[in-house]
Amino acid sequence: MRVALFVTCINDALHPRTGQAVVTLLERLGVEVDFPVEQSCCGQPQFNTGYRHATEPLVRRFDRAFRDYEYVVTPSGSCAAMVRDNYPRIGAKAAAEGRGRGLVDAAAVAVPKMYELTEFLVDVLKVEDVGACYPHTVTYHPTCHGLRMLGLGDRPRRLLEHVEGLELRELPGAEECCGFGGTFAVKNPAVSAAMGADKVRHILGTGAEAVCTVDNSCLLHIGGTLTRQGATVRPVHIAEILASTEGSPW
């Protein structure tokens, strides 16, 4: 099986190791991974801040980059949700504004092939034990878009529970937003920081060595708050845990 990796702009620029982990993991599971270099950003920062028109070229770009693939896999619940939930909206609004059905078609092509990593593993590859080994205590924060827009359910947990040596610690208030919310963190810094502080307090309370999510953007906020407080808990993307093996720890 051949899939396209949509690495996302944040991972490309700031978290290349997450993308490398996805490649390592998928290749270990016998999947051929392609990285179409025409890809860039899904457009979520612009769309969620109100700049819908600025996202239209990015929808077209996504379509050009991934049109020829059956599966597009991304290590980001929030970017997957952007494609799945908002591309059709962008298409419908463009059509309603009399600019043709091109974006409607682009969205219709993109939506069914878009998979968040844990969805792809569990639903398409039908695997829960990926042969990973990560001998650490870990707590899992289910990010809002993964949880509510994608409905990932317990897929990430099932994958983590099969990781050798990993001890999963329950996170109190797990389903509450960490307070990142893209530009929300900039536009409402006080509330965002208060939410982040509560999230970090819960994380520290678990005593886990690492906190893991399906989205690096939330980890950026959680991790920045952790290090500012001098905490040593490591923010880690689930792909990096799943890529880790006994012979080759990540």
């Binding site: 690495v7 702009c9 490309d12 620029a13 700031l14 978290h15 290349p16 190791r17 993308g19 490398q20 990285f35 270099v37 860039s40 950003c41 457009g43 920062p45 612009q46 969620n48 801040t49 109100g50 700049y51 819908r52 028109h53 600025a54 996202t55 070229p57 990015l58 770009r61 909206r89 809002c144 878009h145 949880l147 509510r148 827009m149 389903e175 509450e176 937003c177 307070g179 990142f180 919310g181 893209g182 530009t183 929300f184 963190a185 900039v186 536009k187 409402n188 810094p189 006080a190 509330v191 920081a193 208060a194 939410m195 982040g196 950026l220 991790g223 920045g224 708050t225 290090t227 500012r228």
Partner: protein
């Protein structure tokens, strides 16, 4: 917190102040978490909740599509039952109508059952100007009124107060409004409730005019419905000689059968109760029983403008259960007053800017008062996709676009103060559409990574006050891929 909603600071400023009020945050966190957990249990008892939710949304949507028809049917039914109907296009007109109706009775005091519509139009203040004193009789509204305060929650308007604060307010204020608080009043809930009961009983027995809101209006029979927990509302609805109900036009439902859906959705979502304690219905007037004169004031005040927006109109489905407030992490920290209207929390963030328009700085800041976490949409019993409407309104703020104001189509100009952001978003959009440029930028960032500050100046300062910025890695994923896997140049799309 006292005075009027007008002149409130924009949301981020008000919310920042609230986050520093540790007592407020403790009160809110305790109250919202308690009810949040109870609600989840009450909802989980029904295995057809998802279908009920869909039915509630469908009934509301269908009614809104034919709102003119159902309102005319309602008007005819109210008149046929002995009531009188008045139409108010905005707050001023509604206040004028109610003031005139009270004056015609010759009374200078009225009792009120909790009504968000009258809070929305500032009726109490308008009546006061006309020399008419309005007494709030809902317990929480009473606390708010005695405390010269504003409501901060849809269901529990005094949620920001704890018991000892309430005791102090009762001791200090009750005497100047009627029966004073008993000597030696403590902060035990039973004593506080008894003090309020004695104070209010005097009002119920002497008032000749009652003013109410309504949760629903049934078009087929002209019946109004109030759903409450204390029974105080029923006193207001049955004891006075004249009853004036001020209700938003979106509260109409076609038939009694529709109540079967909403009377299941509302109590479980709002108070986590299986059935509502006091459900009162009234239809026109009945000789020798209850109010002998009944007026219905139908309030528009921005609702038909909201209805004209095909995405935003779903806010009009709201049945005011407050479930979205109780799960919202932003509301929990910002408090209800920061939203600057009787409709706080996620629903307020989409309703207020639509009812009032986006011209004010508070209204333009409200669509951003959310991290788009989606918890509000998940609990909403009528499936209002609040995040969708928030993003839709953000677009109106930054890009402008077609809107309906005062019944006329107009094109809204982009709000001021977003120029730098707009330029950044456009530049980012352009760079993202030109991977060659993007890649050069990433390489530059990687080469200068040791010079990057962990804290930012300018607009980013707020971010880096409490968080460290991430370190830029030495090599982007893109470059790693090319270095380790190689890529043929023909795939290197530089642009369109």
């Amino acid at each position: 917190m006292s005075g009027t909603y007008l002149g409130m600071p924009a949301f981020p400023r008000a919310a920042a102040a609230s986050t520093r009020d540790t007592q407020l945050r403790a009160n809110l966190t305790h109250a919202t978490r308690t009810i949040r957990d109870k609600r989840a249990k009450a909802v989980a008892e029904l295995d057809d909740w998802a279908q009920l939710r869909a039915a509630g949304a469908a009934v509301k949507d269908r009614t809104l599509r034919h709102l003119d028809h159902y309102l005319e049917q309602l008007e005819a039914a109210v008149i046929a039952a002995g009531g009188q109907v008045h139409w108010a296009v905005d707050a001023d007109e509604a206040n004028r109508i109610v003031t005139r109706l009270v004056r015609e009775t010759g009374e200078t005091e009225v009792v009120k059952v909790k009504s968000m519509a009258t809070q929305e139009i500032g009726l109490n203040e308008a009546l006061a100007e006309a020399g008419i004193r309005a007494y709030e009789t809902d317990l929480a509204e009473l606390i708010v009124q005695l405390g010269h305060d504003l409501p901060s929650h849809i269901l529990v308007p005094a949620i920001h107060r704890n018991r000892s604060e309430i005791r102090d307010i009762f001791r200090r204020e009750m005497a100047s409004w009627g029966r004073p608080a008993p000597d030696g009043l403590t902060d035990s809930p039973a004593e506080l409730a008894e003090a309020a009961r004695l104070h209010l009983r005097e009002k119920f027995l002497s008032a000749k005019v009652g003013i109410s809101g309504a949760n629903f209006m049934v078009a087929e029979t002209g019946t109004l419905v109030v759903v409450e927990s204390e029974g105080n509302g029923r006193m207001c609805l049955t004891l006075p000689e004249t009853l004036i109900s001020v209700v938003g036009i979106e509260k109409v439902v076609p038939a009694w059968q529709d109540l079967e859906v909403f009377l299941q959705l509302l109590p479980r979502s709002s108070t986590a109760e299986r059935m509502n304690p006091y459900t009162s219905t009234w239809t026109g007037t009945t000789d020798g029983d209850g109010p002998q004169t009944f007026h219905l004031v139908l309030l528009d005040n921005g609702r038909t403008d909201t209805l004209a927006d095909t995405v935003g109109r779903q806010a009009l489905r709201c049945i005011r259960c407050s479930a979205c407030l109780n799960v919202c992490p932003v509301y929990e920290r910002a408090g209800g007053h920061a939203y600057g209207s009787p409709y706080p929390g996620p629903i307020g963030a989409i309703l207020t800017p639509q009812l009032r328009g986006l011209a004010g700085s508070l209204e333009a800041s409200l669509p951003y008062a959310s991290s788009l976490c989606g918890a509000c949409y998940e609990v909403c019993p009528v499936a209002i996709d609040i995040p969708e409407v928030l993003v839709h309104l953000r677009e109106r703020v930054v890009e402008g676009g077609p809107v309906t104001r005062g019944g006329a189509r107009t094109v809204l100009r982009p709000a001021r103060g977003h120029a730098a952001e707009r330029a950044t978003m456009r530049a980012a959009g352009w760079a993202f559409d030109h991977p060659g440029v993007l890649r050069a930028g990433m390489r530059l960032a990687a080469r200068t990574r040791r010079l990057h500050p962990r804290r930012l100046p300018g607009p980013g300062r707020a971010w880096s006050r409490t968080r460290d910025l991430p370190a830029v890695p030495a090599e982007s994923f893109r470059d790693w891929w090319q270095r380790t896997r190689g890529t043929s140049p023909k795939h290197e799309g530089g642009g369109k």
